[in-house]
């Protein structure tokens, strides 16, 4: 269920790298754990981030979660429709529920990103460890 063309973080974000642009969102597993999302806070266009920096928060009725950058770069686009209607993150976390797009810096990628397969194993272990 986790798309093969994405890379994943231990904090349940994904990134799709397309040329010099990285699109970032949260995973299906993350949205399920949170439940119905009611607020989303995202940065302004122009903000520059290192890898693994907090770039926003996502809140459900029950919980709040910080969002961390899987890659480094400058924010070039923010998903305004997700801010206005955060439920689309629940409905389509890998598609219409994306969060931000970064123009990647040269040393953009974090070393600890996982493939879809590694992420699935990671989620399974996290659940069993619970």
């Amino acid at each position: 269920m986790n798309p093969e063309d994405l890379k994943y973080t231990a904090s349940h974000e994904w990134v799709r790298v397309d040329g010099e642009i990285g699109t970032i969102g949260i995973t299906e597993h993350a949205q399920k754990q949170l439940g119905e999302i009611v607020y989303l806070e995202l940065p302004e266009v122009g903000h520059v981030y290192n890898v693994n920096e907090e770039f926003g928060t996502v809140e459900s009725v029950k919980a709040v979660s910080e969002l961390f950058t899987p890659v480094a770069g400058e924010v070039v686009e923010v998903n305004k429709s997700a801010v206005g209607e955060p439920g689309i993150i629940n409905d389509d976390p890998f598609g219409d529920g994306w969060l931000i797009r970064l123009k990647l810096s040269s040393d953009a990628e974090g070393e600890s990103l996982m493939t879809a397969e590694a992420y699935e194993t990671y989620v399974r272990e996290e659940e069993q460890g619970a």
Binding site: H12, A30, L34, G35, E41, V61, E66, E126, G129
Partner: protein, 372 residues
């Protein structure tokens, strides 16, 4: 996303298997493995406000207080006036410390002058039982028993709850007064039904034997289809109770908060005579109540949650509960604020994870059901 909590041996209610079957997500709630949601908190919340919802609240504790000295013992142990309670009636009350702070909040059911049922919060049950037993029994002529294992408890809540209950129950509970109760047959099982709840809606609570709980719950689900019945979890229970400004022990009240500070002065009856906490409360009222539990709404974005610091012109305070109100569609919460900042309309700041967000004291409850 935070790391999952460490494993622990959790208690389960007789409805555990049914919750799993219904697809509930289970969480650790004060040592109990309870359903937090089935279809989703917002949807379940709406079901209770508009139709009818079913909750498993079997984790609640039940203490039997019996004997010729039962009434006097409860008068001494609780701040509300038990002498005013008629047979078949219930009132909201508390066990208080000598400082007038909460050991727990609870409901007192009067079966007869010598027989009461005290319903307490799940995780406080052992503490409450010891508290009541040691203090009541030294007075003599009264016996306190923890009967929690003998009861399962199903809450049927919402504007359509009376229609549903009346088809399954004998006698028909729809003529029960608010905070009244009686023995009732529900789905063929012997139960005690009270017109109570923790949602701000009309509703009933059905105390039954653990072995009857699943059958009753299934019958209510089946029979309630025309009403659009929905099983509801603790997530919706929390948003519902918060909109109705009902305090949650461990969040809004605990042994550091007095009954007056909690804005629960209406359960404190100093004129009835001695009770534990009376002296401290009388003194606090005379000296002036330093802080108050108030309702607030956020003017800025984000939810102010339990434990977040509040900054007012009259000093610091703390958020005790906060959520997204499904009915209002915006963030609401309760906070303990200095009395000088507790008036409706007062603006203050909440520290939301390092960001200062504007909030405003508003009238409560946030939601009041349309009168019938």
């Amino acid at each position: 996303m935070g790391a999952p909590a460490a494993a622990a041996v959790l208690k389960r209610t007789p409805l555990y298997g049914l919750h799993r079957e219904l697809g509930a997500r289970m969480v650790d709630f004060g040592g109990w493995e309870m359903p937090v949601q089935y279809a989703g908190i917002l949807e379940e919340h709406r079901a209770v406000r508009e139709r009818v919802g079913l909750f498993d609240v079997s984790h609640m504790g039940e203490l039997d207080v019996q004997g010729p000295g039962a009434l006097d013992a409860l008068q001494a142990l609780t701040p509300n006036d038990v002498a005013k309670l008629a047979d078949g009636r219930i009132h909201y009350s508390a066990f208080l410390t000598e400082r007038g702070t909460f050991v727990d909040d609870l409901l007192v059911y009067r079966r007869a002058a010598d027989s009461f049922l005290v319903v307490v919060n799940a995780s406080n049950t052992p503490k409450d039982f010891e508290w009541a037993r040691t203090r009541a029994q030294s007075r003599g002529q009264v016996r306190v028993e923890d009967r929690s294992a003998d009861y399962a408890l199903i809450a049927v809540q919402g504007p359509k709850s009376a229609a549903l209950m009346s088809r399954l129950s004998k006698p028909d509970p729809s003529d029960l007064p608010y905070y009244g109760f009686r023995d009732t047959e529900v789905a063929g099982a012997r139960t005690l039904v009270s017109r109570t709840g923790y949602t701000g809606e009309d509703g009933f609570e059905v105390y039954c034997r653990p072995e009857d709980a699943e059958r009753i719950f299934r019958r209510l689900l089946e029979e309630g289809k025309p009403e659009g019945v929905a099983p509801c979890g603790l997530g919706a229970r929390d948003t519902l109770r918060l909109e109705a400004k009902m305090a949650l022990y461990g969040n809004d009240i605990d042994d550091t908060v007095t009954a007056y500070e909690a804005d629960l002065g209406w359960i404190v009856k100093p004129a009835k005579g001695e009770f534990i906490g009376r002296e401290a409360l009388v003194a606090q009222k005379a000296a002036g109540i330093p802080r108050k539990l108030v309702g607030f709404e956020m003017a800025d974005r984000g939810i102010a949650r339990h434990g977040y610091a509040a900054k007012t012109a009259a000093g610091s305070g703390v958020v005790t509960s906060g959520t997204h109100s499904p009915t209002l569609g915006r963030p609401i919460g309760l906070a303990l604020l200095p009395s000088g900042a507790a008036a409706v309309g007062t603006e203050f700041e909440v520290d939301i994870r390092g960001r200062s967000a504007a909030a405003r004291v508003v009238p409560t409850p946030f939601y009041k059901r349309p009168s019938a």
